[in-house]
């Protein structure tokens, strides 16, 4: 009569079927027996990196395109994302700068000032930015990265004047370098807001 072979333990691999990567390398373990210190393949997937989630970059066109592609980002909002505009004016630390399609690739550090976006011939949208960076790429894509940006219409003239006076008083009463520096920053920003409002 047929007898069943002895039932093996469920998870133990049979000797002749052991995968090659599990073969030990002959090292002696602490008990004198041969230790199974092989390296098993990992079960973890590779982690992603942020560039894996980016859209692929467009090719650099041979001739400058008709319109500028504008990306205007602040940490808490996306003002423009791939919008086609005519022109952008950017307040660089070395002076105001206008960007047209076909502009030479530039990295710009911005001072507190007004970014003016010319959407088409008629519409100009102005944003007051607290500072940040602007990158103009070879394919006429402009990335404006600001820490804070508000439409100029939302600035309150009275509050700006009051803020300017406050910071000027703080500068006079400043005790150490930190307070002096923060007061100077406040004066610079409020002054720029004032001139943005046309005063």
């Amino acid at each position: 009569s047929w007898t069943r072979p002895p039932r093996a333990r469920r998870n133990a691999p049979r000797r002749d079927e052991e995968p090659s990567w599990l073969r030990f390398e002959g090292r002696r373990g602490p008990n004198g027996g041969r230790a199974r210190e092989a390296v098993k393949p990992s079960t973890m997937d590779n982690p992603s990196t942020p560039s894996a989630f980016m859209k692929p970059l467009p090719e650099v066109p041979a001739t400058p395109p008709a319109k500028l592609t504008l990306n205007f980002y602040v940490p808490h909002n996306i003002e423009f994302d791939g919008a086609e505009v005519d022109q952008v004016q950017v307040p660089a630390t070395s002076g105001d700068m206008g960007v047209l399609p076909g502009h030479v690739p530039t990295v710009v550090q911005m001072r507190p000032g007004v970014v003016a976006v010319t959407l088409n011939d008629k519409e100009v949208q102005k944003y007051f930015v607290s500072s940040g960076f602007a990158f103009v790429h070879a394919d006429s894509t402009t990335d404006i990265c600001a820490v804070e940006a508000v439409p100029v219409e939302q600035l309150d003239a009275e509050a700006v004047k009051k803020g300017l006076a406050d910071y000027q008083a703080k500068l006079v009463n400043a005790k150490d370098d930190y307070e002096k520096a923060s007061a100077q920053i406040g004066i610079e920003v409020c002054g720029a807001m004032n001139s943005a409002l046309g005063n």
Partner: protein, 310 residues
């Protein structure tokens, strides 16, 4: 007939007692204590019912918070792209000092996302010879504090108790940059959908490393004209800004992933509690009916025994 009745009832009693086999883990109850096992089952039903209500409420809370968190997270994703385009995403540059920043949640009951981040942080920290860690979030601190306490520089907890703004993220970035490592690798869960979260490693270098990379041509910084300060100061500002932006995005992505994962795990808990409650209800009814039937049979058999005697 009376004796027949007695025999019949005793046979019935015997078969009833033999067939009263339940699948529930009710241990041996001696006769005369039938009401106690009913009480035990009732207590279990009450506690499982409470658990079901609590987990359902937690799921509702997480779901209501998820929408707002997801909107803010999607808006924060915009600023990451231009900085990657400018400064590159190069996790492989070998540096002398590396800091790993695992980003995790403060509260628990959110599924496996914190364990995932800790696992990947350990692997990433093992890739370089000299690594330190700054841990963000209570859960990663609990898991990493035991084995790797020599590597941990500091911990930042209770970020969920204050509103997450760019200013808060900049403070966190300042704390991390103050340690002075040349390479920072931030490990977090990127939110893809309510049920799917991808472990992601973002890399931010110090400005010296970015200068070296620009000179080596690994990032295309030198191809651009510069309007502003000279290159080393520019790269210093960019590196600090990059760190702030990456931390802000990582914190928002991780907290949105936490909410999604909590929704999922509370949904599973509620379903399991509901199934368990169903099984316990059946058990309760069976136990109750069996005890009633047993009592009835004893009464009837006693009565027919008395009649038989007459």
């Amino acid at each position: 007939m009376a004796s027949n009745g007695f025999q019949r009832t005793s046979a019935l009693l015997r078969t009833l007692r033999n067939s009263n086999v339940t699948s529930a883990p009710v241990t041996f109850t001696p006769s005369g204590t039938r009401s106690v096992s009913l009480q035990i089952v009732q207590q279990r039903m009450k506690s499982v019912g409470n658990i079901q209500k609590i987990t359902a409420a937690m799921k509702m809370v997480a779901a209501s918070r998820l929408k707002g968190a997801q909107t803010r997270m999607e808006k924060s994703r915009g600023l990451v792209v231009p900085l990657i385009r400018m400064l590159g995403d190069l996790p492989g540059i070998v540096t002398d000092t590396t800091m790993v920043v695992p980003v995790s949640s403060d509260k628990g009951l959110c599924g496996g996302i914190n364990t995932t981040v800790v696992k990947y942080s350990k692997v990433v920290a093992g890739l370089e010879p000299k690594t330190t860690m700054t841990i963000v979030g209570e859960k990663a601190r609990a898991q990493l504090g035991k084995g790797n306490s020599d590597k941990v520089n500091g911990t930042i907890v209770d970020l969920s108790k204050i509103p997450m703004t760019f200013a808060t993220a900049s403070m966190v970035a300042d704390t991390i940059l103050a340690e002075g490592a040349q390479k920072h690798q931030i490990v977090f869960n990127k939110f893809q959908s309510v049920i799917s979260f991808r472990p992601t490693v973002a890399t931010v270098y110090s400005s010296d490393e970015y200068e070296k990379a620009a000179e080596a041509g690994q990032i295309k910084f030198d191809e651009y004209e510069m309007e502003g300060p000279e290159r080393s100061e520019f790269l210093l500002d960019l590196a600090e800004f990059n760190m702030g932006v990456v931390m802000y995005n990582a914190l928002l992505e991780n907290s949105t992933s936490e909410l999604g994962s909590r929704m999922q795990s509370m949904e599973n808990s509620t379903k399991n509690a509901k199934d368990m409650l169903g099984k316990l209800t059946l058990l309760y009814n069976r136990t109750r009916q069996a005890s009633i039937t047993t009592e009835l049979i004893e009464i009837i058999s006693g009565a027919s025994a008395l009649e038989a005697k007459k």
